[in-house]
């Protein structure tokens, strides 16, 4: 095979990736339009676009721009940051089972937020909420990566993640347990389930800056994940500061997940699923998986949020419940696929 055919082959792969990207972007736009159009008043995508740009009736404009737009923006941004965080953690740890929810990051962030709410330090619209959530998410991922050490196997990561999420869950339960006001407890319980319902632009402003900052940090490190394919030591010999990279990924994931959890509660498993859906189409290159995983995450959360509005039920199904119901069986399937490496105790 000549060097020329090689170049053509890599161009073909690049064109294929570009095709996947166009398809993903179209899908996300379509889902966003559907998300804006669905609810008690159903609007066609044309009416939605019309209302977005100041056309249609006043009522339509209010429904689309003030009621549904914040919800759609949050679904998009949070789905994207969860997908991106999953891809980044999988890249950092060279492990297809890494993800924020398996590491207890959303659960810990939720504990931070619940603590702040129940102590009366903040109402649900203050910046203290995302800051507390981010701090706890940071602590959880930091502890996990410290326990895991430099070349952690799958088993250690998953056991440590299980322990951390159990602890965060127990601490949250304790806070609810000690709370004297039953209304607060009920509110926390529902909030924990994870939902995008009735969110306003205040929520968007609360979460978006942190999500964007987290995304920028994670994206800036993407090429280092490719070097990490050869292991930490070799990556270091190629000029990657692995210690700094770990810290940046922890900060990026904590900012993104903490910011997201602060306004929507815990929405799990999108970070685990999104990169897996993309690997057959994009390949295993951890750097190239980042943006497609973010788009897939956005599409998944938007779709789940549309589904909870369509599925007929006596009370509202929370979107976090739906993502877990779909995500956990997928996780079990992945465990089955990785059975050999898990059984050996080494990854």
């Amino acid at each position: 095979m000549s060097v020329e055919t090689l170049r053509l082959a890599s161009e073909f792969a690049a064109r294929r990736r570009a095709g996947v990207m166009v398809a993903l972007i179209s899908l996300v736009v379509l889902l966003a339009l559907i998300s804006l159009g669905i609810g008690p008043v159903r609007l066609s995508p044309v009416a939605v676009v019309d209302a977005l740009f100041g056309g249609g009736t006043d009522v339509q404009q209010i429904i689309v721009r003030e009621i549904r737009l914040p919800r759609t923006i949050l679904g998009l941004a949070i789905g994207a940051i969860l997908g991106l965080s999953g891809a980044a953690l999988q890249g950092l740890l060279r492990n297809p089972l890494a993800s924020p929810s398996l590491f207890g990051a959303p659960q810990s962030a939720a504990f931070g937020a619940v603590l702040v709410i129940s102590l009366g330090l903040a109402d649900v619209r203050s910046y203290a909420l995302p800051v507390a959530a981010i701090a706890m998410a940071f602590a959880s991922v930091f502890v996990l990566l410290t326990i895991a050490g430099r070349n952690a196997g799958l088993l250690i990561l998953i056991l440590a993640g299980l322990a951390i999420s159990s602890l965060a869950g127990a601490m949250t339960a304790l806070v609810m347990n000690l709370s004297s006001n039953p209304f607060v407890v009920l509110e926390i319980a529902f909030w924990l389930l994870g939902s995008l319902e009735d969110r306003s632009f205040r929520h968007v402003m609360l979460a978006l800056p942190f999500i964007v900052a987290g995304a920028i940090i994670l994206m800036s490190q993407r090429n280092a994940f490719r070097a990490l394919t050869l292991g930490e030591e070799t990556a270091q010999s190629l000029g990657v500061d692995v210690g700094r990279l770990r810290l940046l990924v922890i900060v990026g994931v904590a900012l993104g997940v903490g910011g997201a959890v602060a306004v929507t509660g815990t929405i799990g498993f999108i970070g685990l699923v999104a990169p897996h859906l993309m690997r057959p189409l994009i390949g295993h290159d951890p750097a190239r998986l980042m943006v497609p995983s973010a788009l897939t995450g956005a599409a998944l959360l938007l779709a789940a949020d549309i589904a909870v509005r369509i599925i007929p039920s006596t009370s509202d199904i929370k979107v976090g419940v739906l993502t877990s119901i779909i995500g956990v069986p997928f996780f079990l399937y992945l465990i089955m696929r990785e059975r050999r490496s898990l059984g050996g105790g080494m990854a």
Binding site: A9, N95, G231, V240
Partner: protein, 258 residues
């Protein structure tokens, strides 16, 4: 001391235990240096310390600059490091793995190589004869093919120093010779190549200089015939060896334990 790579009183301590002590050496470009010694002598540790991959005491100079003052990026351009076992965590195409050798030069994306980087990758792949595997995932290659891809990645750095940790381990005899010949070629082209190996025969045949490490100290250094003398073989490796000459090259075959 002069030389491309020099170390003075180099020492490495792991949790209170001295793994390397008082290592002083001076190695010149264009040489193939074999680093040998029994298991646990500190060969891999010395290789890592020379590349600045782990903290050490003493001084290391590369090309006249103190290693401790060089940035990570600058170190990466001067040392190409081939670890033991050729770990690859994701099934990437061989071409992308080799292209990672250009990472220290700023080519972080194999899809966007500058003509200069692409040339270096091509040269390296031709040198180890892996152009035909370019598109194939490294996980689908045989052990020998994989090791050639790993070697191409190291050659693609085009660094003045190559540090290879047991590049011939678990390869069949043909591939072992191929790997050593490739490294020999790199040395003849002016690179300083340091190879950790347990194969004293390969060391004697291909190396200009042999460093014998024993319990964290340099027990001998010099031309293969002196460094692998009968006394060293007995004291350090606790073996006797069959010695001969074939086609005007030294032959050493470990023979019996003593």
């Amino acid at each position: 001391m002069s030389g491309l790579l020099t170390a003075q009183n180099l020492g490495v301590t792991f949790s209170g235990r001295a793994v390397l002590r008082d290592i002083s050496l001076s190695l010149s470009s264009g040489h193939l240096v074999a680093l040998v010694g029994p298991n646990g002598a500190g060969k891999t540790t010395l290789l890592r310390a020379l590349a600045g991959l782990l903290p050490s005491q003493g001084e290391i100079y590369v090309g006249g600059d103190a290693l401790s003052l060089l940035s990570l990026r600058e170190r990466a351009k001067r040392f190409a490091y081939l670890p033991q076992g050729h770990v690859v965590h994701w099934p990437l195409p061989a071409l992308d793995i080799v292209a990672l050798g250009r990472y220290p030069h700023g080519a972080t994306d194999p899809a966007r190589l500058t003509p200069k980087d692409a040339e270096a990758v091509k040269r390296a792949m031709q040198a180890t004869d892996v152009v035909e595997f370019s598109k194939r995932r490294v996980t689908e290659l045989s052990g020998g093919e994989c090791s050639r891809v790993a070697l191409a990645r190291v050659l693609a750095v085009e660094a003045p120093v190559i540090l290879a940790d047991e590049p011939t381990a678990s390869l069949d005899p043909r591939y072992q010779i191929d790997v050593m010949q490739n490294l020999r070629k790199a040395a003849d082209a002016g690179t300083l190549v340091i190879v950790v190996t347990h194969d004293l025969g390969l060391a004697a045949r291909f190396a200009d200089t042999v460093l014998v490490l024993s319990e964290g100290r340099l027990a001998a250094q010099g031309a293969p015939a002196e460094a692998l003398s009968e006394k060293i073989m007995a004291n350090v490796f606790r073996i006797s060896a069959y010695r001969a000459e074939h086609q005007r090259e030294a032959v050493i075959v470990p023979w019996a334990g003593i």
